[in-house]
Symmetry: C2
Subunit: 339 residues, 2 copies
């Protein structure tokens, strides 16, 4: 697919302009644009500009509230509950992680639940904020049905990421941000379009049989990582981010691209705590931990044992120096939305 | 392997007697015996009587302290740090989960870290205690090297379980207690003894090549679930339970069976919180969640979609009615240790 180069600064201004045109205030437009640009720069294109039109469509259809009255309820000095009032997910998550940081700085630990939110992009993006403030963080969010529970012939769990971040004593944070599905649905769609096979063990056909045929997989279900164990992890995330918070759960989170029957009401959970609660020398300890693991003998062809987040950081640094490449479809979206 | 039937009550008395003979006080012997019997009843034999001799050996060699001075340091009303003074892991974990329950009942959330502990059996056993008190819980512990980090040719991470428990509004709790290794080392040993192959994709030989040969796998390394993602989860658990708590980490936790060069100094982390922090009707919501998932169409041959913990509960109930079957080796251990 041919792509067009766009300057990051100009692109960011355009996104802000578009969001403002759709009713977001200055600050909310900036928060949303920053998150989208970040996704592009780390190479997570599925969370970047490819979603811009979807957000605007949902605002137009009054499914995302451009002027939300977001309420932060104090449960204790450590615990807060946020009703995001159907805001764009970026804004809800930004407020939530900042509150979780504040709570942890005050009491050692923060627990912040969010309801009535929407797709917020990458969990790791919010984890980075907490890690920059020298906190450890764990973040959970649910998502529209994509993965079948173990034994089921229908998708219900989202890709429900598990996210964990910690300072490392270096510039590059340890950010694990892992979905629990074997394969991205977008990749199956791509394989179908190009008439290619998908890997073994990532999807079942509509009869529940393993398939490497992309078309059959699209009619069937995607599988969680590690069978019953991955299914259990996805279920855990649905409970933590949905059942606990007051958000939708059990498959009720709507697909933002093709379900316009109501707001998504996604739930998120943010846990933060100080690194020095139990040891004085956390930085020394984590540096030592990473050093020991990196020194292990390597499998042939492996140059370096990477910790989660390292590759993403490298991509970010590299891409930040360049212009952002966008598809013609995205370019067209930008032009249409600006008008 | 032929087995001998033993009455649970009598067996428990014998274990208590043995632990007391080795210097544990009444209460610590009872806590330890209960945990071991529970492992037998849920069918987790690797955490049951097969370890009894090992615990006693380590007490004899002064690597487990039978009379520990366990210190509970209050960091805040929510947060506690426990120095287990090289106690048997069961006792440290029992004190820790009780403290975590107390903290959560008082403030809504509990965070309890433990250092200088040892192998404590099943995380799920402690999760059940919190769930019985109507709390959600997350528990992490590290363990001796068993799994190679992604890209490495040497084991470093333990089987590092991720444990999550929640009340379900029914008698049977939701307890996810999942190791991050593809296969149990004991199962590889068993396959080697019986000249059987191991499944594909669970281990590498000493050159880093995938193998189904059990002998070659034992000379090589076990793999984490889901490649880089499982490796990241194992790393997360090592950081949360080791780096953060003051316990050993980065492969320094000693194998209790064959490394007598010092105490294990395992670390654990217990997180607990109330179910009703953000919603008043958590029980109704979780009942609804489980019901919806159970109602999904099933893969051919699947009778019921089970949530984590359901099977274990059934095994426990069934086995509780019967006598415990022990191997002749275990029977001999019991007799030797009693003397």
């Amino acid at each position: 697919m041919e792509k067009v180069n766009l300057k990051t600064k100009i692109l960011k201004k355009e996104i802000i302009k578009i969001f403002k045109k759709f009713g977001l205030n200055n600050n909310h437009a900036l928060i949303s644009a920053n998150a989208i640009i970040n996704a592009e720069l780390v190479g997570a294109y599925g969370h970047g500009l490819s979603r811009l039109k979807m957000y605007c469509d949902r605002i137009s259809k009054k499914l995302i509230n451009p002027k939300p009255k977001i309420k932060i309820k104090k449960i204790s000095s450590s615990i807060s509950h946020i009703n995001a009032d159907d805001s764009i997910g970026f804004v809800a998550a930004d407020i939530a992680i900042k509150q979780a940081i504040k709570n942890a700085k005050k009491t050692g630990i923060g627990l912040v639940a969010v309801k009535n939110s929407g797709h917020y992009g990458l969990s790791g993006y919010y984890a980075e904020q907490a890690v920059k403030k020298n906190l450890i963080t764990m973040i959970y969010t649910n998502a529209p049905p994509a993965v079948a529970p173990h034994g089921a012939l229908k998708s219900l769990f989202g890709t429900n990421p598990i996210c964990f971040g910690t300072p490392t004593g270096s510039k590059i944070p340890f950010i694990l941000d892992t979905s629990i599905s074997m394969i991205n649905r977008g990749n199956i769609r791509l394989a179908e379009r190009n008439n290619k096979k998908i890997p073994k063990g990532v999807a079942l056909d509509k009869f529940g049989k393993p398939t490497t045929n992309a078309k059959k997989a699209l009619q069937g279900v995607q599988l969680p990582i590690a069978g019953f164990r991955g299914s259990g992890l996805a279920w855990m995330v649905d409970i933590l981010s949905g059942v606990l918070t007051g958000g939708n759960h059990a498959g009720k989170v709507k697909d933002p691209f093709d379900d316009f029957s109501g707001p998504q009401n996604i739930g998120h959970l943010f846990i933060t705590f100080k690194t020095n609660l139990f040891v004085k020398n956390y930085n020394t300890r984590i540096i030592d931990n990473i050093k020991k693991i990196k020194k292990l003998p390597k499998i042939k062809g492996v140059k370096e044992i990477m910790y989660p987040g390292q590759n993403k950081y490298k991509r970010f640094k590299m891409n930040s120096k360049k212009e952002i490449k966008v598809t013609h479809i995205t370019k067209k979206d930008l032009e249409t939305l600006k008008r």
